[in-house]
């Protein structure tokens, strides 16, 4: 884990409010795990004060000593608005890689990757890594949900990897008009996966976490909480423990990826 001032080497919009940013990072990021995150801050000034957490969207080796680190984000407030104003050549303070990422998949069987909205950000990295194992590629199925066609990001990235992608939208502007959890449940009945990896809005995650109980499938969810430090020091990122109601887990330390059976989703 390091705190590094990184140069922005790419910044482009991917839809109306969403941007992809590429940073020149320490080689340590070559070993980052999908699901891990970074805490980002624009160096000058105190507004916003706190760093903002973002999942690692991709990490590629640039040279023997540098990695290209990508984040994918939606503008939702002060911090992300300022980020969207940054240009290649600008620098950001980036602390990472942080947290516990997704586990390695079980040795065999179908793997489902479920992403809702911005939840797609860590899933691209996960798909990249899983596809390093040529034999596993055909086990992977991607489910991508969004409110509208515009919200269905990164479909091309999964398709480049040769992965089948099932699309859903709330308004029917692309794919089936339903929640992404419908085709997932349908597929579970046909070809039960040995693992579901999920990231997305709380409602979607609760529903998919429910599949763990109903169908006895391993489910890992990547969740979002408010965070001040990302290091386990501030204790802002409390998540209710499902088995032990007398304690909280901490998303920056024990997560942000949790086994769905470990926690109570908000």
């Amino acid at each position: 884990m390091i705190d590094e001032r990184m140069e922005i080497i790419g910044a482009e919009p991917v839809s109306t409010d969403c941007y992809r940013m590429t940073l020149q990072a320490h080689i340590g990021y070559a070993d980052a795990r999908p699901g891990q995150f970074v805490m980002v801050r624009i160096p000058d000034g105190l507004t916003p004060l706190l760093r903002r957490p973002f999942s690692i969207h991709r990490s590629r080796r640039l040279s023997a000593s540098r990695t290209a680190l990508e984040i994918l984000y939606r503008v939702v407030g002060k911090g992300t608005r300022r980020l969207a104003g940054c240009r290649p050549g600008d620098r950001l303070d980036v602390l990472g890689p942080l947290g516990r990422g997704f586990s390695d998949p079980p040795a065999s069987g179908p793997l489902f990757l479920a992403a809702g909205g911005m939840g797609v950000a860590p899933m691209v990295f996960l798909a990249d890594r899983l596809c390093r194992d040529e034999k596993r590629r055909r086990d992977i199925r991607v489910f991508l949900g969004g409110r509208t066609a515009e919200e269905l990001l990164c479909r091309d990235r999964f398709e480049e990897l040769g992965l089948p992608v099932v699309l859903t939208t709330d308004d029917g502007s692309d794919g089936d008009q339903c929640l992404v959890t419908y085709p997932i449940e349908e597929q579970i009945r046909l070809i039960p996966p040995t693992m579901i990896y999920a990231c997305g809005p709380p409602g979607m995650l609760s529903c998919i976490a429910g599949f763990a109980d109903t169908y006895g499938i391993r489910v890992e969810v990547s969740i979002e909480t408010l965070m001040a430090c990302g290091l386990g020091a501030c204790l802002a990122c409390a998540v209710a423990d499902r088995r032990d109601r007398q304690r909280y887990r901490h998303a920056c330390l024990h997560g942000p990826v949790f086994d769905a059976r470990e926690i109570l989703l908000p």
């Binding site: 884990m1 390091i2 705190d3 801050r41 105190l46 507004t47 916003p48 004060l49 706190l50 760093r51 303070d93 602390l95 909480t225 408010l226 001040a228 430090c229 290091l231 386990g232 020091a233 501030c234 204790l235 802002a236 990122c237 409390a238 998540v239 209710a240 007398q246 304690r247 909280y248 908000p266």
Partner: protein
């Protein structure tokens, strides 16, 4: 090097190699920052507020960002004294840095018992008593806002500990010097201030408080002027060392406190924004002393001219 200034300070019998410490609740148990900070260089580590029994803290959301600051209502979540001694202290003991244990309780008895328990633990250099907590036997009014309750709790802790005793004052009072005097009368070796300022924030879309606890404590750059003013009032009133806390982000901020009369500083929220803040502040203080030809940091402390 010959001309490097002497940074040592004495906090009520505890000698620190420099005046830069971490503020309770913002630096975990030290280890969290081990990869980012040269912990050996710290004046002292003040650990997360500790209670007799483990405490799970408040439900989330626990923080809200505000203009140049943040509100927190963590609710003093901590592992409890036994797990601290067993699991957290051994790492801290590998460093040659004083460990100051911040303690709190819901009753006077809890504070006293905890202080007594820690008194037998080697590796604890000093105790910092957080008196900003609600006194359950007095209807939840914080110990730190009632001079008599403050006196009682500090006296009971004093009876149970031979370690340097620092009392951490709450800013949520109309006259902080009254509490400061009582704490010193009761046996405090040093005072630290400020703890967070009670505040609130509202989510206008949901028309709900941003914190599950409704109110929380404000910290960060926004509180620094208030903290400085209170430190100034207290150093004029008591003759024990005072530790300045509140919104210290840079060496210049720390120097303001030292010049005002603080014998040392604790760095809090800055650790979240810049994990290396304590190191930058330490370097900056040293550079300032060199630049101004000041040989000892103690020659700078309390040199405010009015």
């Amino acid at each position: 090097m010959n001309d490097s200034p002497d940074l040592r300070v004495d906090i009520g019998g505890l000698v620190l190699k420099n005046p830069v410490m971490t503020a309770s609740g913002t630096f975990g148990y030290g280890r969290e920052f081990a990869e980012l900070v040269d912990l050996q260089r710290l004046g002292a580590v003040v650990v997360k507020g500790l209670s007799l029994q483990p405490s799970m803290g408040n439900p989330p959301p626990r923080i809200a960002e505000t203009a140049c600051g943040m509100l927190n209502a963590i609710g003093l979540e901590n592992v409890g004294v036994e797990a601290f001694v067993r699991e957290k202290l051994p790492f801290l003991e590998t460093l040659s840095v004083p460990v100051i244990v911040n303690i709190y309780g819901k009753t006077v008895e809890e504070y006293a018992e905890l202080a007594g328990r820690l008194d037998s633990v080697e590796g604890v250099s000093a105790v910092e008593v957080n008196i900003s907590c609600p006194n359950v036997k007095a209807g939840g009014v914080a110990f730190g806002v009632d001079p008599e309750a403050a006196y009682t709790v500090v006296r009971e802790v004093r009876l149970r500990t031979a370690r340097p005793l620092i009392v951490k004052l709450s800013p949520n009072v109309s006259d902080v010097t009254k509490i400061a005097e009582k704490a010193v009368d009761a046996g405090a070796d040093a005072l630290s201030l400020i703890n967070t300022i009670t505040g609130m924030a509202v989510d206008v879309e949901r028309r709900r408080p941003k914190l599950a606890n409704v109110t929380g404590g404000l910290s960060g750059p926004a509180v620094k002027p208030v903290a400085l003013r209170m430190v100034w009032e207290v150093v004029k009133t008591v003759n024990v060392p005072v530790i300045g806390i509140g919104g210290i982000m840079t060496a210049e901020d720390a120097l303001e406190f030292l010049i005002t009369g603080a014998a040392a500083v604790e760095v809090g929220t800055a650790n979240f924004v810049n994990p290396g803040a304590t190191m930058d502040i330490l370097d900056g203080i040293e550079a300032y002393l060199v630049k101004h030809g000041i040989e000892k940091v103690t020659d700078l402390i309390g040199t405010l001219e009015i």
